[in-house]
Symmetry: C2
Subunit: 194 residues, 2 copies
DNA sequence: TCGAAAACCGTACTGGAGGTACTGTAAACC
DNA sequence: GGTTTACAGTACCTCCAGTACGGTTTTCGA
Protein backbone atom coordinates (compact mmCIF):
# COMPACT_ATOMS: atom_id res chain seq x y z
CA UNK A 1 0.00 0.00 0.00
CA UNK A 2 2.84 2.33 0.83
CA UNK A 3 4.45 1.47 -2.48
CA UNK A 4 1.39 1.71 -4.74
CA UNK A 5 -0.51 4.37 -2.88
CA UNK A 6 -3.60 4.21 -0.78
CA UNK A 7 -6.23 4.72 -3.43
CA UNK A 8 -4.39 2.64 -6.00
CA UNK A 9 -4.59 -0.40 -3.73
CA UNK A 10 -7.99 -2.00 -4.00
CA UNK A 11 -9.65 -3.82 -1.17
CA UNK A 12 -9.76 -6.90 -3.37
CA UNK A 13 -5.97 -6.87 -3.56
CA UNK A 14 -5.66 -6.46 0.18
CA UNK A 15 -7.95 -9.31 1.06
CA UNK A 16 -6.31 -11.55 -1.53
CA UNK A 17 -2.93 -10.85 0.06
CA UNK A 18 -4.28 -11.19 3.58
CA UNK A 19 -6.12 -14.40 2.79
CA UNK A 20 -9.47 -13.16 4.00
CA UNK A 21 -12.71 -12.24 2.30
CA UNK A 22 -14.53 -8.99 1.81
CA UNK A 23 -16.84 -9.86 4.67
CA UNK A 24 -13.89 -10.25 6.97
CA UNK A 25 -12.47 -6.91 5.92
CA UNK A 26 -15.69 -5.02 6.40
CA UNK A 27 -16.20 -6.73 9.72
CA UNK A 28 -13.13 -4.92 11.04
CA UNK A 29 -13.36 -1.70 9.02
CA UNK A 30 -16.63 -0.08 8.17
CA UNK A 31 -15.05 1.51 5.12
CA UNK A 32 -11.72 2.36 3.54
CA UNK A 33 -11.50 5.56 5.58
CA UNK A 34 -11.33 3.52 8.73
CA UNK A 35 -8.48 1.50 7.27
CA UNK A 36 -6.62 4.73 6.55
CA UNK A 37 -7.35 5.81 10.09
CA UNK A 38 -5.84 2.62 11.44
CA UNK A 39 -2.79 2.95 9.25
CA UNK A 40 -2.38 6.53 10.40
CA UNK A 41 -2.48 5.42 14.03
CA UNK A 42 0.07 2.69 13.53
CA UNK A 43 2.38 4.87 11.49
CA UNK A 44 2.07 7.77 13.91
CA UNK A 45 3.01 5.60 16.86
CA UNK A 46 5.90 4.05 14.98
CA UNK A 47 7.28 7.44 14.06
CA UNK A 48 6.82 8.76 17.60
CA UNK A 49 8.71 5.76 18.88
CA UNK A 50 11.44 6.29 16.32
CA UNK A 51 11.83 9.92 17.38
CA UNK A 52 11.97 8.90 21.03
CA UNK A 53 14.62 6.28 20.30
CA UNK A 54 16.76 8.45 18.05
CA UNK A 55 16.66 11.56 20.22
CA UNK A 56 17.08 9.47 23.33
CA UNK A 57 20.30 8.16 21.85
CA UNK A 58 21.24 11.69 20.81
CA UNK A 59 20.68 12.82 24.40
CA UNK A 60 23.16 10.20 25.57
CA UNK A 61 25.71 11.51 23.14
CA UNK A 62 25.47 15.18 23.92
CA UNK A 63 24.35 17.52 26.66
CA UNK A 64 24.59 20.64 24.57
CA UNK A 65 21.15 21.52 23.10
CA UNK A 66 22.58 22.41 19.69
CA UNK A 67 24.72 19.32 19.37
CA UNK A 68 21.80 17.28 20.66
CA UNK A 69 19.55 18.36 17.78
CA UNK A 70 22.32 18.11 15.20
CA UNK A 71 23.20 14.60 16.32
CA UNK A 72 19.54 13.63 16.45
CA UNK A 73 18.91 14.82 12.91
CA UNK A 74 22.00 13.01 11.69
CA UNK A 75 20.91 9.78 13.35
CA UNK A 76 17.45 10.20 11.89
CA UNK A 77 18.92 10.73 8.42
CA UNK A 78 21.08 7.64 8.83
CA UNK A 79 18.07 5.64 9.92
CA UNK A 80 16.17 6.68 6.81
CA UNK A 81 19.16 5.91 4.62
CA UNK A 82 19.48 2.42 6.07
CA UNK A 83 15.97 1.48 5.13
CA UNK A 84 16.19 -1.04 2.30
CA UNK A 85 14.75 0.41 -0.87
CA UNK A 86 14.41 3.82 0.67
CA UNK A 87 11.72 5.18 2.86
CA UNK A 88 8.39 3.49 2.18
CA UNK A 89 6.68 6.83 1.91
CA UNK A 90 5.35 9.10 4.54
CA UNK A 91 1.85 8.22 5.53
CA UNK A 92 1.00 11.81 6.25
CA UNK A 93 2.14 13.03 2.87
CA UNK A 94 0.51 10.03 1.25
CA UNK A 95 -2.81 10.70 2.93
CA UNK A 96 -2.84 14.49 2.95
CA UNK A 97 -2.07 14.74 -0.75
CA UNK A 98 -4.48 12.05 -1.70
CA UNK A 99 -7.04 11.96 -4.42
CA UNK A 100 -9.46 10.66 -1.95
CA UNK A 101 -11.42 13.12 0.12
CA UNK A 102 -11.19 12.04 3.72
CA UNK A 103 -13.71 13.09 6.28
CA UNK A 104 -13.11 16.02 8.60
CA UNK A 105 -12.06 13.77 11.46
CA UNK A 106 -9.23 12.23 9.46
CA UNK A 107 -8.03 15.61 8.25
CA UNK A 108 -8.09 16.94 11.79
CA UNK A 109 -6.06 14.01 13.08
CA UNK A 110 -3.45 14.38 10.36
CA UNK A 111 -3.19 18.08 11.15
CA UNK A 112 -2.76 17.34 14.85
CA UNK A 113 -0.03 14.80 14.21
CA UNK A 114 1.89 17.19 12.00
CA UNK A 115 1.51 19.95 14.57
CA UNK A 116 2.85 17.64 17.26
CA UNK A 117 5.90 16.79 15.21
CA UNK A 118 6.51 20.44 14.50
CA UNK A 119 6.24 21.19 18.21
CA UNK A 120 8.66 18.37 18.93
CA UNK A 121 11.34 20.05 16.86
CA UNK A 122 10.34 23.47 18.09
CA UNK A 123 10.98 22.59 21.72
CA UNK A 124 14.48 21.49 20.82
CA UNK A 125 15.03 24.68 18.88
CA UNK A 126 13.77 26.78 21.78
CA UNK A 127 16.32 25.11 24.01
CA UNK A 128 18.98 26.11 21.53
CA UNK A 129 18.02 29.78 21.24
CA UNK A 130 18.07 29.97 25.02
CA UNK A 131 21.81 29.26 24.87
CA UNK A 132 23.09 30.18 21.43
CA UNK A 133 22.63 33.61 19.91
CA UNK A 134 21.38 33.05 16.37
CA UNK A 135 23.19 34.71 13.49
CA UNK A 136 19.84 36.03 12.30
CA UNK A 137 16.49 36.66 13.94
CA UNK A 138 14.88 33.27 14.39
CA UNK A 139 11.27 32.15 14.55
CA UNK A 140 11.49 28.65 16.01
CA UNK A 141 8.02 27.75 14.74
CA UNK A 142 9.06 28.46 11.17
CA UNK A 143 12.37 26.73 11.70
CA UNK A 144 10.61 23.65 13.05
CA UNK A 145 8.36 23.62 10.01
CA UNK A 146 11.49 23.91 7.90
CA UNK A 147 12.75 20.62 9.31
CA UNK A 148 9.39 18.95 8.74
CA UNK A 149 9.18 20.40 5.22
CA UNK A 150 12.64 19.06 4.44
CA UNK A 151 11.47 15.61 5.40
CA UNK A 152 8.20 15.75 3.48
CA UNK A 153 9.81 17.49 0.54
CA UNK A 154 12.63 14.96 0.60
CA UNK A 155 10.15 12.12 0.46
CA UNK A 156 8.27 13.67 -2.46
CA UNK A 157 11.44 14.55 -4.31
CA UNK A 158 12.95 11.14 -3.67
CA UNK A 159 9.84 9.47 -4.97
CA UNK A 160 9.61 11.70 -8.01
CA UNK A 161 13.26 11.28 -8.94
CA UNK A 162 13.24 7.61 -7.92
CA UNK A 163 16.29 8.31 -5.78
CA UNK A 164 16.13 7.04 -2.18
CA UNK A 165 19.19 9.06 -1.19
CA UNK A 166 17.32 12.34 -1.47
CA UNK A 167 15.45 11.99 1.81
CA UNK A 168 18.49 11.48 4.08
CA UNK A 169 20.38 14.05 2.06
CA UNK A 170 17.70 16.68 2.61
CA UNK A 171 17.45 15.85 6.29
CA UNK A 172 21.13 16.62 6.55
CA UNK A 173 20.51 19.85 4.66
CA UNK A 174 17.99 20.82 7.32
CA UNK A 175 20.58 19.91 9.92
CA UNK A 176 23.15 22.15 8.24
CA UNK A 177 20.67 24.99 8.12
CA UNK A 178 20.27 24.78 11.89
CA UNK A 179 24.00 24.46 12.30
CA UNK A 180 24.69 27.52 10.16
CA UNK A 181 22.21 29.54 12.14
CA UNK A 182 23.52 28.78 15.59
CA UNK A 183 27.04 27.45 15.46
CA UNK A 184 29.55 30.15 16.33
CA UNK A 185 31.70 31.20 13.41
CA UNK A 186 35.34 30.26 13.57
CA UNK A 187 37.17 33.47 12.86
CA UNK A 188 40.81 33.64 12.04
CA UNK A 189 41.89 37.00 13.27
CA UNK A 190 45.02 38.22 11.67
CA UNK A 191 46.90 40.15 14.24
CA UNK A 192 47.35 43.69 13.07
CA UNK A 193 50.77 45.05 12.60
CA UNK A 194 51.60 47.37 15.38
CA UNK B 1 -9.35 19.91 -9.99
CA UNK B 2 -6.43 21.56 -8.21
CA UNK B 3 -8.63 22.06 -5.18
CA UNK B 4 -10.25 18.63 -5.02
CA UNK B 5 -7.44 16.58 -6.43
CA UNK B 6 -7.02 14.84 -9.73
CA UNK B 7 -8.57 11.50 -8.92
CA UNK B 8 -11.30 13.01 -6.79
CA UNK B 9 -12.58 14.96 -9.77
CA UNK B 10 -14.71 12.78 -11.99
CA UNK B 11 -14.94 13.25 -15.72
CA UNK B 12 -18.67 13.74 -15.32
CA UNK B 13 -18.01 16.79 -13.15
CA UNK B 14 -15.55 18.20 -15.65
CA UNK B 15 -17.83 17.87 -18.64
CA UNK B 16 -20.75 19.30 -16.69
CA UNK B 17 -18.64 22.34 -15.83
CA UNK B 18 -17.23 22.62 -19.33
CA UNK B 19 -20.62 22.19 -20.95
CA UNK B 20 -19.61 19.31 -23.14
CA UNK B 21 -20.45 15.64 -23.21
CA UNK B 22 -18.45 12.53 -22.53
CA UNK B 23 -18.05 11.96 -26.25
CA UNK B 24 -16.50 15.38 -26.63
CA UNK B 25 -14.11 14.76 -23.80
CA UNK B 26 -12.92 11.41 -25.09
CA UNK B 27 -12.59 12.88 -28.55
CA UNK B 28 -9.79 15.09 -27.25
CA UNK B 29 -8.35 12.80 -24.58
CA UNK B 30 -8.14 9.09 -25.03
CA UNK B 31 -8.20 8.63 -21.25
CA UNK B 32 -7.73 10.48 -18.00
CA UNK B 33 -3.98 10.02 -18.21
CA UNK B 34 -3.89 12.17 -21.30
CA UNK B 35 -5.78 14.86 -19.47
CA UNK B 36 -3.18 14.77 -16.71
CA UNK B 37 -0.52 14.96 -19.38
CA UNK B 38 -2.11 18.09 -20.83
CA UNK B 39 -2.43 19.67 -17.41
CA UNK B 40 1.19 18.87 -16.72
CA UNK B 41 2.23 20.57 -19.96
CA UNK B 42 0.22 23.68 -19.26
CA UNK B 43 1.36 23.91 -15.66
CA UNK B 44 4.97 23.29 -16.57
CA UNK B 45 4.97 26.06 -19.14
CA UNK B 46 3.25 28.43 -16.74
CA UNK B 47 5.82 27.75 -14.06
CA UNK B 48 8.70 28.09 -16.52
CA UNK B 49 7.31 31.44 -17.59
CA UNK B 50 6.92 32.51 -13.98
CA UNK B 51 10.53 31.63 -13.24
CA UNK B 52 11.68 33.51 -16.31
CA UNK B 53 9.67 36.58 -15.32
CA UNK B 54 10.68 36.56 -11.68
CA UNK B 55 14.37 35.93 -12.23
CA UNK B 56 14.39 38.31 -15.15
CA UNK B 57 13.18 41.00 -12.79
CA UNK B 58 15.72 39.85 -10.21
CA UNK B 59 18.43 40.19 -12.83
CA UNK B 60 17.42 43.80 -13.37
CA UNK B 61 17.72 44.47 -9.68
CA UNK B 62 21.09 42.93 -9.04
CA UNK B 63 24.27 41.97 -10.88
CA UNK B 64 25.76 40.03 -8.02
CA UNK B 65 24.99 36.30 -8.40
CA UNK B 66 24.20 35.84 -4.70
CA UNK B 67 21.92 38.85 -4.46
CA UNK B 68 20.34 37.81 -7.74
CA UNK B 69 19.25 34.44 -6.34
CA UNK B 70 18.22 35.90 -2.99
CA UNK B 71 16.11 38.57 -4.66
CA UNK B 72 14.64 36.02 -7.07
CA UNK B 73 13.60 33.70 -4.27
CA UNK B 74 12.10 36.60 -2.35
CA UNK B 75 10.10 37.71 -5.37
CA UNK B 76 8.98 34.14 -5.94
CA UNK B 77 7.86 33.86 -2.33
CA UNK B 78 5.97 37.14 -2.61
CA UNK B 79 4.30 35.95 -5.76
CA UNK B 80 3.13 32.78 -4.01
CA UNK B 81 1.93 34.79 -1.03
CA UNK B 82 -0.12 37.11 -3.23
CA UNK B 83 -2.08 34.28 -4.72
CA UNK B 84 -5.62 34.55 -3.37
CA UNK B 85 -6.44 31.59 -1.19
CA UNK B 86 -2.88 30.36 -1.31
CA UNK B 87 -1.16 28.34 -3.94
CA UNK B 88 -3.58 26.12 -5.80
CA UNK B 89 -1.34 23.15 -5.29
CA UNK B 90 1.68 22.03 -7.16
CA UNK B 91 0.80 19.91 -10.13
CA UNK B 92 3.96 17.90 -9.82
CA UNK B 93 3.37 17.07 -6.18
CA UNK B 94 -0.28 16.44 -6.92
CA UNK B 95 0.51 14.04 -9.71
CA UNK B 96 3.62 12.37 -8.36
CA UNK B 97 2.00 11.56 -5.03
CA UNK B 98 -1.21 10.44 -6.57
CA UNK B 99 -3.29 7.42 -5.88
CA UNK B 100 -3.46 6.86 -9.54
CA UNK B 101 -0.74 4.91 -11.21
CA UNK B 102 0.38 6.83 -14.25
CA UNK B 103 2.10 5.21 -17.16
CA UNK B 104 5.86 5.25 -17.54
CA UNK B 105 5.75 8.12 -20.00
CA UNK B 106 3.98 10.40 -17.54
CA UNK B 107 6.36 9.49 -14.74
CA UNK B 108 9.33 10.14 -17.00
CA UNK B 109 8.03 13.55 -17.97
CA UNK B 110 7.39 14.56 -14.38
CA UNK B 111 10.91 13.45 -13.50
CA UNK B 112 12.35 15.46 -16.37
CA UNK B 113 10.47 18.59 -15.36
CA UNK B 114 11.64 18.32 -11.77
CA UNK B 115 15.21 17.74 -12.92
CA UNK B 116 15.01 20.82 -15.12
CA UNK B 117 13.83 22.96 -12.25
CA UNK B 118 16.58 21.61 -10.03
CA UNK B 119 19.11 22.41 -12.74
CA UNK B 120 17.67 25.90 -13.03
CA UNK B 121 18.49 26.60 -9.41
CA UNK B 122 21.76 24.75 -9.62
CA UNK B 123 23.09 26.98 -12.38
CA UNK B 124 22.41 30.01 -10.24
CA UNK B 125 24.12 28.35 -7.29
CA UNK B 126 27.13 27.44 -9.42
CA UNK B 127 27.46 31.09 -10.37
CA UNK B 128 27.50 31.93 -6.68
CA UNK B 129 30.16 29.42 -5.64
CA UNK B 130 32.35 30.77 -8.44
CA UNK B 131 32.44 34.07 -6.59
CA UNK B 132 31.63 33.47 -2.96
CA UNK B 133 33.56 31.04 -0.78
CA UNK B 134 30.95 28.96 1.03
CA UNK B 135 31.13 28.69 4.79
CA UNK B 136 30.92 24.93 4.42
CA UNK B 137 31.63 22.49 1.60
CA UNK B 138 28.76 22.80 -0.82
CA UNK B 139 27.17 20.40 -3.28
CA UNK B 140 25.14 22.66 -5.53
CA UNK B 141 23.00 19.75 -6.75
CA UNK B 142 21.90 19.01 -3.20
CA UNK B 143 21.41 22.65 -2.47
CA UNK B 144 19.27 23.06 -5.57
CA UNK B 145 17.17 20.11 -4.45
CA UNK B 146 16.92 21.79 -1.07
CA UNK B 147 15.20 24.78 -2.67
CA UNK B 148 12.86 22.54 -4.63
CA UNK B 149 12.12 20.46 -1.53
CA UNK B 150 11.31 23.60 0.42
CA UNK B 151 8.75 24.52 -2.19
CA UNK B 152 7.20 21.06 -2.43
CA UNK B 153 7.36 20.55 1.31
CA UNK B 154 5.89 24.00 1.85
CA UNK B 155 2.98 23.15 -0.41
CA UNK B 156 2.32 19.87 1.39
CA UNK B 157 2.70 21.41 4.83
CA UNK B 158 0.54 24.37 3.90
CA UNK B 159 -2.15 22.08 2.62
CA UNK B 160 -1.98 19.81 5.63
CA UNK B 161 -2.08 22.65 8.14
CA UNK B 162 -4.56 24.62 6.01
CA UNK B 163 -2.22 27.59 6.26
CA UNK B 164 -1.38 29.32 2.96
CA UNK B 165 1.42 31.32 4.57
CA UNK B 166 3.60 28.23 4.98
CA UNK B 167 4.67 28.05 1.35
CA UNK B 168 6.08 31.60 1.05
CA UNK B 169 7.50 31.28 4.55
CA UNK B 170 9.41 28.15 3.64
CA UNK B 171 10.63 29.62 0.39
CA UNK B 172 12.16 32.42 2.44
CA UNK B 173 13.68 29.79 4.73
CA UNK B 174 15.39 28.27 1.70
CA UNK B 175 16.55 31.75 0.78
CA UNK B 176 17.99 32.26 4.24
CA UNK B 177 19.77 28.93 4.04
CA UNK B 178 21.53 30.06 0.88
CA UNK B 179 22.26 33.43 2.43
CA UNK B 180 23.75 31.87 5.55
CA UNK B 181 25.96 29.65 3.44
CA UNK B 182 27.45 32.32 1.22
CA UNK B 183 27.02 35.74 2.72
CA UNK B 184 30.24 36.91 4.35
CA UNK B 185 30.04 37.11 8.10
CA UNK B 186 30.20 40.55 9.61
CA UNK B 187 32.94 40.20 12.16
CA UNK B 188 33.59 42.75 14.78
CA UNK B 189 37.24 42.49 15.47
CA UNK B 190 38.20 43.79 18.81
CA UNK B 191 41.58 45.31 18.48
CA UNK B 192 43.94 43.55 20.77
CA UNK B 193 45.62 45.47 23.44
CA UNK B 194 49.22 46.03 22.52
C1' DT C 1 -20.33 26.94 -52.72
C1' DC C 2 -19.50 22.32 -52.01
C1' DG C 3 -17.44 18.48 -49.82
C1' DA C 4 -14.72 16.53 -46.53
C1' DA C 5 -12.64 16.56 -42.27
C1' DA C 6 -12.92 18.03 -37.48
C1' DA C 7 -15.53 18.57 -33.51
C1' DC C 8 -18.72 17.27 -31.29
C1' DC C 9 -23.83 14.90 -29.35
C1' DG C 10 -26.69 10.77 -27.77
C1' DT C 11 -27.18 6.52 -26.20
C1' DA C 12 -26.09 2.25 -24.70
C1' DC C 13 -22.94 -0.64 -22.78
C1' DT C 14 -18.78 -3.12 -20.03
C1' DG C 15 -15.98 -3.81 -16.10
C1' DG C 16 -13.91 -2.74 -11.87
C1' DA C 17 -14.18 -0.76 -7.32
C1' DG C 18 -16.39 0.60 -2.99
C1' DG C 19 -19.92 -0.67 -0.30
C1' DT C 20 -24.42 -3.04 1.52
C1' DA C 21 -27.33 -6.82 3.10
C1' DC C 22 -28.13 -10.93 4.86
C1' DT C 23 -27.41 -15.76 5.85
C1' DG C 24 -24.39 -19.33 7.51
C1' DT C 25 -20.74 -21.21 10.49
C1' DA C 26 -16.52 -22.48 13.01
C1' DA C 27 -13.99 -21.19 16.97
C1' DA C 28 -13.55 -18.83 21.40
C1' DC C 29 -15.17 -17.65 25.75
C1' DC C 30 -17.88 -17.39 29.91
C1' DG D 1 -24.02 -25.10 26.37
C1' DG D 2 -25.32 -20.82 24.89
C1' DT D 3 -23.54 -16.44 23.36
C1' DT D 4 -20.31 -13.64 21.20
C1' DT D 5 -16.56 -13.04 17.97
C1' DA D 6 -14.71 -13.57 13.68
C1' DC D 7 -15.09 -14.59 9.83
C1' DA D 8 -17.00 -17.08 4.75
C1' DG D 9 -20.35 -16.90 0.94
C1' DT D 10 -23.44 -14.87 -2.14
C1' DA D 11 -25.90 -11.47 -4.19
C1' DC D 12 -26.57 -7.05 -5.14
C1' DC D 13 -26.22 -1.67 -5.76
C1' DT D 14 -23.89 2.55 -7.26
C1' DC D 15 -20.39 5.26 -9.17
C1' DC D 16 -16.93 5.92 -12.40
C1' DA D 17 -13.59 5.17 -16.25
C1' DG D 18 -13.70 3.74 -20.65
C1' DT D 19 -15.73 1.71 -25.23
C1' DA D 20 -18.64 1.52 -29.30
C1' DC D 21 -20.99 3.53 -32.73
C1' DG D 22 -24.19 6.16 -35.30
C1' DG D 23 -25.82 10.84 -36.06
C1' DT D 24 -25.06 16.00 -36.33
C1' DT D 25 -22.98 20.44 -36.62
C1' DT D 26 -19.16 23.43 -37.56
C1' DT D 27 -15.04 24.63 -39.88
C1' DC D 28 -12.25 25.27 -43.60
C1' DG D 29 -9.90 24.66 -47.78
C1' DA D 30 -10.42 23.89 -52.82
Amino acid sequence: MLAKGFGATSIEELIAEAGITKSGFFYHFKDKNELASGLLDRHGEALDQLLVDVFGRAGELSDDPLQYLLVGLTLLAEHMAEMPGGHPGCMVAALSYQDRLFDRDMRARITTMVRDWNDFFRRKLDAIVAVYPPREPVDTARLARMIACSIDGGIIMGKTLADPTVLPEQMLMARNHVKLLFQPVAVHVVREAA
